[in-house]
Amino acid sequence: MAETFVPLPSLPPPSGSVGVGAWLRTRLFNGPVNSILTLVCLWLVASVLIPLFDWGVIRGHFVGSDPQACRDGGACWLFIGARLRFFIYGFYPDGELWRVNVVLFTAVAVIVALAIPGTPGKRWIVPGAIVGMPILTIVFMHGGVFGMPVVATDQWSGLTLTLVLSIVGIVAALPMGIVLALGRRSKMTVIRLLCTMFIEVWRGVPLISVLFMASVMLPLFLPEGLQFSKVLRAMIGIVLFESAYMAEVVRGGLQAIPRGQTEAAAALGLGYWRTMALVVMPQALKLVIPGIVNTFIALFKDTTLVLIIGLFDVLATIHATIVDPDWPNIATEGYLFAAAVFWVFCFGMSRYSQALERKLHTGHKRN
């Protein structure tokens, strides 16, 4: 008579340790100090969120176009709608807006194609975009060919200008930063000194003073009549400034690669450039993706500083319209909108970099 052992079914957990009540008790009201803290925090959140929700949603104005409707103190979101065209395109002439759209749409298409795994021909998209996008941007946005009238750079403004400045900054600063980082670690004294000087000088001055120099001082040194467009001056300033930061980020990655990697490459008979391009850089850049994206995000937000040299980036267009006397005081709505725009782009970059890290991770990650 073999009796098989049949365990009794497990008892349910004690009623005091499951369910909403238990969760609340263990996490929020576990002891007098924590209970008080919970209540204080709840009160703080409520006292901020409830008026905000009341102002922004319940009393907010979403439809219509009459500024006078906004005088009752609720949030005036119709202002954003009424000025959206100006925020995005700024002074770009009305009939030519499609040209900006073509450029922006292509940029979005390229980014989406890169983000989706398994897009055919991916290895050609990146170099194609790096060479093609600037040409496309010049041809379409500046015009003057194929019967498109010239739109001078001083008419580039709004979100368009923000994107152009930051994309140019990102595309140009990364390669320059890599070259500078290699230069700073070079065994050749002159190159090392030059690169170190460049990095320390540009990293040591605030971007705002670089922009001021480019916009106010530089024209004084140029012969009268010779003028560079202000957008170009700002662009060069941003690229030089950000490449110095990028160089230090990349150098951080290079420091982390053990010497054995270079020695192994040398043992295989690889020269300096091939060692760097095939062995060291791929590992180093992968390590510093968070740092690189950090710099990109900082660069994207730094482009708002062009406001002080009279260029109309997206923040400046908002700045210029919230003083419109037709509307009641709409500064808060304007700045919230600006914050939302910047957050969307920065968060997007952050998510993309995390996806990239996951894809490129080769098992060395510890977590």
Binding site: R71, D72, G73, A82, R83, R85, F86, Y89, G90, F91, D94, M133, P134, I135, I138, M141, H142, G144, V150, A152, D154, Q155, S157, V164, V168, V171, A172, F212, S215, V216, P219, L220, L222, E224, G225, L226, Q227, F228, S229, V231, L232, M235, I236, I308, I309, G310, F312, A316, T317, H319, A320, T321, I322, V323, D324, P325, W327, P328, N329, A331
Partner: protein
């Protein structure tokens, strides 16, 4: 000299506009060959120069730019507006980036004498004033003893305020903010009884209050801020064109010529008006522009009074009274020398 445009690629994109103009070239010739007047304006000061939702500029200073373009080309649209911050405006003029600066710039002796610039005249007499709540029952600046005053930091406004209260032996408490919209928010939320700024801005700020009729701008003006267009020194012809553009707008108003009655006025027999509109005499030629520049200005922007009403006066949300900016015949300071 002909302006040549080169497009070169730098990194991603670049535009180098190389206007090969030697320092000695007359500004008028440069402007004519370029086919465009380059006018420096404020990035956004409602009523004076501000972009609308389509990115089109309008305002009193913008109208002056249009009037100048109309006088030179007969076409008010031939202007390129360069928005400038307060810090870069004078450099932009000195370096030739702009031809004329119409950016609510106060005419002061040091600017006129030491910077190689010439003030053309005054197109708006501004001055610092006070915005108070009606409920206070204050009628004049001298009744403000003990008041708390909202003011923007780091401006001459702060200094003028201190001077005013000291000379009148009154006390005040200043509540300092960083930007003008914060200053307004402080006033709105009762952090102060009085808001001080230039009068032209006070009207704009008042119109943004939830109920503008509950606040009033006091008649007192505690500082002199004559705002006017500026040109580079050393080109007398250009200076004269800029100056007579302004005078023409004033004289048009004095003669009663508007953008609407221009057609009839062109047929008038009044010799003053005929000289002004170019139907008689060769006055424009002496400046190097067309004789009918007065008529072109009237057609493009109208007279000074029309421009004032449209941009800052009753026809605008600002509703600024003419005050000092009325013609001399109406008790103001605006006076155009005769065309003879």
């Amino acid at each position: 000299m002909k302006a040549s445009h080169l497009v070169v690629g730098f990194g991603a994109l670049a535009t180098v506009a190389m206007a090969a103009a030697p320092a000695s070239a007359a500004t008028l010739d440069t402007v004519k060959s370029r086919g465009q007047l380059v006018c420096g304006v404020n990035n956004s000061l409602p009523g004076f120069s501000a972009p609308d939702e389509k990115g089109q500029w309008s305002g009193l200073d913008v109208d002056y730019c249009k009037a100048m373009a109309a006088a030179i080309f007969g076409d008010p649209s031939k202007v390129k507006y360069v928005p400038l911050t307060a810090k870069e405006r004078l450099t932009a003029l000195q370096t030739g980036e702009i031809d004329v600066l119409a950016r609510n710039t106060t005419w002061t002796m040091s600017r006129d004498a030491s910077l190689g610039l010439n003030f053309v005249g005054v197109n708006y007499y501004d001055g610092q004033g006070f915005l108070v709540k009606k409920s206070l029952g204050v009628k004049a600046g001298k009744e403000l003893n003990g008041a708390s005053v909202c003011v923007q930091s780091g401006t001459t406004t702060e200094l003028n305020l201190a001077d005013y209260f000291r000379t009148h032996k009154m006390t005040y408490q200043s509540v300092v903010f960083d930007t003008s919209d914060q200053t307004l928010q402080g006033f709105e939320s009762d952090r102060c009884d009085v808001l001080t700024s230039d009068q032209s801005q006070l009207y704009g700020l008042r119109s943004k209050l939830p109920d503008p009729s509950k606040a009033v701008v006091l008649p007192d003006v505690i500082s002199k801020e004559p705002l006017g267009p500026v040109v580079r020194q050393g080109d007398e012809q250009w200076f004269d064109i800029a100056r007579w553009t302004l005078f023409a707008m004033l004289n048009l108003e004095e003669a009663g010529v508007t953008s609407k009655n221009l057609g009839e006025m062109l047929k008038t027999t009044n010799p003053d008006v005929k000289r002004l509109l170019g139907t008689d005499g060769e006055f424009g030629k002496q400046l190097g522009i067309t004789n009918d520049f007065g008529a072109q200005i009237a057609k493009a922007v109208g007279n000074y009074g029309e421009s004032f009403e449209r941009n800052v006066g009753e026809g605008s949300p600002l509703k600024i009274a003419r005050g000092l900016n009325a013609l001399w015949t109406n008790g103001g300071l605006m006076y155009g020398p005769p065309i003879r």
